[in-house]
Structure formats: structure tokens, C-alpha cells
């Protein structure tokens, strides 16, 4: 099979245009979307929700505060890992999604143990806290800046499984959003974290999966 003349010309011009590839392009660009999106989310928390009044004390060593932060960061890293792989042709997001499942499993296990040790009449109030009805939706809202940027950035890379790549971007953005929201939220229940934070991040991942095939389509 011979290659037609104009395709050969194209190859010549592409070879002439070649510049060395910068290693780390993919992770750097995706990380940049979290830097900007996370800053916007932080701004939204400061302006509309306010930092929790006891932030200074809890940051000095409250276990639940750090567990919420840690869970959010691990979910964000899991999403980052998956998105970084799925932004490439033939990339597999399995590692990141497994990490997410592992983190979720550990938080659920921890919450279940705490629940069992609690007097039964305390269980419901600890699970629902004061803010179960607003927590997931706020995390979803806070994830939107990072999600939008991550989708824009990934579209210029080369995802080939768009729904999965979108879900990874959503998981990533959800983790960033949950970390920012943890600076406002005063809930202390492990079951609260396991349920409502997870739900918020899951909503963000679902939004990413929904938008993926449309937002990530490239030519």
C-alpha cells in the first residue's frame, strides 16, 4: 500500500514542526486546574459560608477535622490519578478508582465501629448531624469550578473513554471541593463523613460522567 502524495506532504510538514515533548505535561495541566479551581472554591467558602469559628483549635489536633481533610484529599488524589491516566489514549483509570473504593471502605468501616459503640439513641443525630441536607449539594457546587477547568484541560489532552474520564475529573474536583468545605463544616460524626461527604463527591463524579461525552470530545 503506498501512501498518497498529500499525506506524505503532511508527514513532512509534521516532522518539520516537531519539538521535543515536555514530560509531565499531562499531570501538570490537570494539577493546575485544581490549583485554580480549589482557590475559587476556597473563595466561595470564605464569602458565602465562612470558616468554622473553631478552626484554629481543631486544626491543632482534632481527629475528626483531620480525618475529614484526609478523606477529601485521598479522594481528590484518587481522582487525579485516574484523570491523569484517562486523559491519555488507552489509559486505564483503575488504580485511582481502586484507591477511591479503598478510602470509602475504610471510612465506612470506621464509621460502623463508632456507631456500634454509641448509645442507640445517639446514632441518628450523629449520622444526620445539623447539615446532612445541605452538605452534599454544597460539595457539588464547590466542585464545579475545578470540574469545569479539569474538563477543559483534559479536552486538550486526548481522552478516549469520555464517560470514565469525566467521572475521574468529577472525583478529582469533588475531593478538592470536600477539602475546601471541611474548613466550614463543623460536623463530627464519622458516619456523617462516610455518608454525606461521600455523596457530595459522588454527585460531582456523576456530573463529570454525564458531561464527559460532550465536554471531552476532541477532534
Amino acid at each position: 500500500m503506498t501512501t498518497p502524495r498529500d499525506t506524505q506532504d503532511l508527514i513532512e510538514s509534521l516532522a518539520a514542526d516537531l519539538s521535543p515533548a515536555r514530560p509531565g505535561t499531562v499531570p501538570l495541566r490537570i494539577a493546575a486546574s485544581a490549583a485554580v479551581g480549589g482557590a475559587v472554591a476556597l473563595g466561595l467558602v470564605l464569602v458565602f459560608l465562612g470558616l468554622r469559628p473553631d478552626l484554629r483549635q481543631v486544626a491543632a489536633g482534632d481527629m475528626m477535622f483531620w480525618m475529614k481533610a484526609g478523606y477529601a484529599v485521598v479522594l481528590g488524589l484518587a481522582g487525579f490519578w485516574s484523570a491523569e491516566r484517562l486523559a491519555r489514549p488507552a489509559g486505564s483509570g483503575r488504580g485511582g478508582f481502586l484507591l477511591m473504593a479503598l478510602a470509602l471502605g475504610m471510612v465506612i468501616l470506621f464509621a460502623a465501629i463508632r456507631m456500634m459503640r454509641m448509645p442507640p439513641e445517639m446514632r441518628m443525630p450523629m449520622w444526620l448531624g445539623q447539615s446532612w441536607d445541605v452538605c452534599p449539594i454544597r460539595i457539588l457546587m464547590l466542585s464545579i469550578p475545578t470540574l469545569a477547568l479539569a474538563l477543559l484541560v483534559m479536552r486538550r489532552l486526548a481522552p478516549t473513554r469520555l464517560t470514565l474520564a469525566g467521572a475521574a475529573a468529577g472525583l478529582f474536583a469533588g475531593g478538592v471541593a470536600a477539602a475546601a468545605y471541611g474548613l466550614h463544616c463543623t460536623e463530627t460524626g464519622a458516619a456523617f463523613l462516610a455518608t454525606w461527604y461521600s455523596l457530595g463527591v459522588a454527585l460531582s463524579a456523576a456530573l463529570g460522567a454525564l458531561l464527559g461525552p460532550w465536554a471531552l470530545r476532541w477532534r
Binding site: M1, T3, P4, D6, T7, Q8, L10, I11, E12, L14, A15, A16, D17, L18, S19, P20, A21, R22, T25, V26, A87, R88, P89, A90, G91, L157, A158, T160, R217, W218, R219
Partner: protein
Amino acid sequence: MSVDLEPRLNALMRRAQAGEAAAWRELLSVLAERLAIYFGRRLAQDHAADLEDLVQETLLAIHRRRATYDPSQPFTAWAYAVARYKLIDHWRRRRIRAHVPLEFVEDSLWEEPDLSAEARLDLERLLVTLPERQQRLIRDVKIEGLSLAEAGARAGMTEGAAKVALHRAMATLSSRTRAT
């Protein structure tokens, strides 16, 4: 599935990523030929005119998005994923995707053209009549050359179960060949 292509193409790609134009020219030339065969088999007769456009578009995409290639991963899989994406995108834009079974694009860009295009099409037509699980088994074992244990692991079954399922699938295929 050509096994010896991977090291050669991977080496070319690494040199190209370092900025060596000659390596990029050689790699793109190999790809142009492969892509023409791959798309040629899958475009309907009335879209044969799109073939060269599609090849060029794919080469361009490979050029523009080359930074997404991770040298530690197989280059053949990377390039194939781009080609497959471009083909599906082409179908989608032409709104003809519904008429072509998606399974049509499942086999690899890297198979040696040892079967004539005709025979390959016949095989594809037969294969797509099988349940997806059986199709995959046949592709993995008979076309890709995986062992029964590997193909079984991929499909989430034991080697023994894979053997039985494959046998059943081959029996169905051969009875259909006789029927046509």
C-alpha cells in the same frame, strides 16, 4: 497482532519525543500505511472517499497530542486507541454509527493483514452474531493469541470455564458457517 512492531515503534516514539524529526517522519509513515488499512476495512463503500481525510486527521491528532503518550506504556495500544477514537468520531459525525456494530472496531490496528479483507469481513460478520463474552474469548485466544488462562482471567472465569465457553463458541461459529 504483531509482536515485533512494539519495540521498534516505541523506540521511534521515544526518539521523536526527544525532538528527532527523522524518527517522527518514519513513525508517521508506518502509521499512515497501517491507518489506511485499518480504516479501509471499516469504512462503508460509499465513504471510501473519506479514507485519506481520516488518515490525515488521525496523523494530525497524533502529532498534536503526542505529549499524552507515556513512554512506559505500549505505543501500539496508544496509537490504536487514537485511531479507534477517530473512527468512532467519524461515524458519529456522519450519524452512521447505528448501522455499524461497535464490535467492528474492537480488533487491533496492528494485526498483520494475513487474512484478505473479504475473509476478515466475513469473520467479523459471523463473530458479531455471538454473545459478547464469546466474541471476546474468540478474539483473545484465536486472534490475539492469548492463552486460555489469560483470556479466562480477562473475562473473569477459570481456565476450565474458558475452555468450555470457547469450545461452545467455536461450535456455534462452525455450525453458522455451514448454514451460510
